[in-house]
Symmetry: C2
Subunit: 335 residues, 2 copies
């Protein structure tokens, strides 16, 4: 089994990507990696990795898709990019899943146009983890759609819920994942037309639907899965990133504003770092594009090696457990 | 000129409401206050206020709308509540504006059904301030609609932008308020169908439209006004409140976790409080329901006296500057 890894996606490529691959290979057996990118740059890095290098196959791809490339056209305009070639390996059946820390928009078009939808799935959805707080033993919530579909119909959201539920059950061993609907009130009759209809559909389904979740509770671990349309989901995750960054930099500025507070900050440094880690994407695990015929995993753009390692092991588990097959069956039943 | 104040709205009523009224009266002349609520409870508090009490007229209203009352029906079911009577005073032309820290949903139905829309306004919108960071001299952004209309049509958002622009210009002296559209990308072609159409309409208008604002920049002071549909706006403000509370309590827990970090936190206490104040609603000013034929102002439920004072002075300025008249003229022009 091969996972293809985009060696040139994200802010810390290619070094941290390669180191993350090495960490994953050391931790787990039973899979190999296609490491995709400029082989002149990758070969010397791989030569120095501390792992079984026979499990890494470098696949040459000289181009790089950057954050400045247009998401919708990047895959076509740079067919020899590390990301496009990494997706091609899944398309051609050589790899079961692809992992990238690169351009999210390009990932979406790669997933949808190269790897294509699972039969019966109306729309694939982007499903990242978000940190959540306040309930012991829970630290993250899967949210979808986080931006694949700006306009959604009720039936899309029902499918998102089904796919996410299977994904968490199979890959993460959560028995009967709870599902909340992001809404502007907790009552059944609340929300926009989309939410009202989705509420009914989820209530009538055999999913573990726990009702509406108000936005103030998005980070309160009220459900394993939060379902929403791709516009709202994208606003939520980007707003959270922006807020977290803003608050942390304001906190830093506040602490640095006097000698006494500087000493205070130095004394509380470990605790501040722990808090920072909680809202950090590094530990959360990779996001997934659910609903396409292959594993498509997205690490945060600023991912370091730990994040890449976690994402890669997630992709391995996803492939071993045949989540695609499970979703296919599920779509037949609900379709 | 009278402003009617709901004496029994919010967590700190009636004491902090009354103290806030006193602060406002001491700071500014030229207006009086109808203080609405149970006179047996209000009279002894007012008797002890440090201000010109001849400017306060207590209006008896024995009932109270609580956060547990159903937003849509509370006004009808409790016609003798402090909030309903406070709205009636505006409806009857006795007061030019009403201020409450109570139930937002009840405020909406009070504004729309009692005070009614300005002629030409398709839909009123709820417009609170949000804190923003990173640009010297800027500390808040007006966001609308924050929840009055779960489903919006493009023309609603265009009107929201016009009304908000006049409001900031007239009441806050911002010359040509900049307007951003909350979207899931910065490019013109990004977003859901609603955003694409609103983008065109705003671009073609003579408003100071600065383009799409991605959610990660909502708190970055990119525009004086952020326009969005009532579902997204409500999600944004509630998510921010939830996140801020969560992060502050996590921060507190982190600091309290060791003796050394406790000392650190004690040394940095002033700076932590400054940061807390920045994300605090107390200093931001009241939200407004724009588009109805009277001033409808909403202070945060946990408002203390400073927040009430600020909201009251805002309502006074709004009334003196005849914002309703300005919006009426404006609606004629764009209508």
């Amino acid at each position: 089994m091969y996972i293809s890894v985009d060696g040139f996606g994200g802010d810390n490529a290619p070094n941290e990507i390669c180191e993350g691959v090495a960490l994953a290979l050391k931790e787990k057996s039973g899979f190999n990696v296609y490491l995709v990118g400029d082989e002149n740059k990758l070969a010397p890095i791989v030569a120095n990795l501390d792992c079984d290098k026979s499990r890494i196959e470098i696949v040459h791809a000289p181009q790089v898709i950057t954050m400045d490339d247009h998401p919708a056209t990047a895959m076509r305009e740079k067919p020899d990019s590390s990301m496009a070639v990494a997706f091609d390996l899944v398309k051609e059946g050589k790899a079961t899943a692809v992992l990238t820390a690169g351009n999210s928009g390009a990932l979406l078009s790669g997933g949808i146009f190269k790897i294509k939808r699972i039969k019966g799935v109306v729309r694939p959805a982007l499903a990242p983890f978000m940190p959540c707080f306040g309930i012991p033993g829970k630290s993250r919530t899967l949210i979808l759609d986080a931006g694949a579909n700006a306009d959604c119909k009720p039936e899309y959201l029902l499918q998102f819920a089904f796919m996410a539920s299977e994904y968490l059950r199979v890959v993460f061993g959560i028995k009967n994942p709870s599902i909340g609907l992001i809404n502007i009130g907790t009552e059944e009759t609340k929300g926009n037309e989309l939410c009202k209809r989705v509420y009914e559909m989820l209530k009538d389904s055999d999913l573990n639907f726990v009702g509406n979740v108000e936005a103030r509770d998005i980070a309160s671990c009220k459900a394993d899965i939060l379902v929403t349309d791709g516009f709202t989901g994208n606003v939520v995750i980007k707003f959270m990133e922006g807020m977290a960054q803003t608050l942390l930099s304001e906190m830093k500025a506040a602490f640095m504003s006097s000698t006494v507070s500087k000493i205070g900050a130095a004394l509380a440094k470990n605790q501040i770092m722990q808090l920072k880690n909680k809202v950090d994407y590094e530990e959360l695990g990779a996001g997934i594009l659910l609903g396409v015929s292959g594993g498509v995993f997205k690490c945060h753009g600023s991912s370091g090696r730990r994040s890449i390692k976690n994402g890669l092991l997630q992709a391995v588990k996803f492939s071993q457990d045949d989540v695609i097959g499970v979703i296919k069956e599920n779509m037949k039943e609900i379709g």
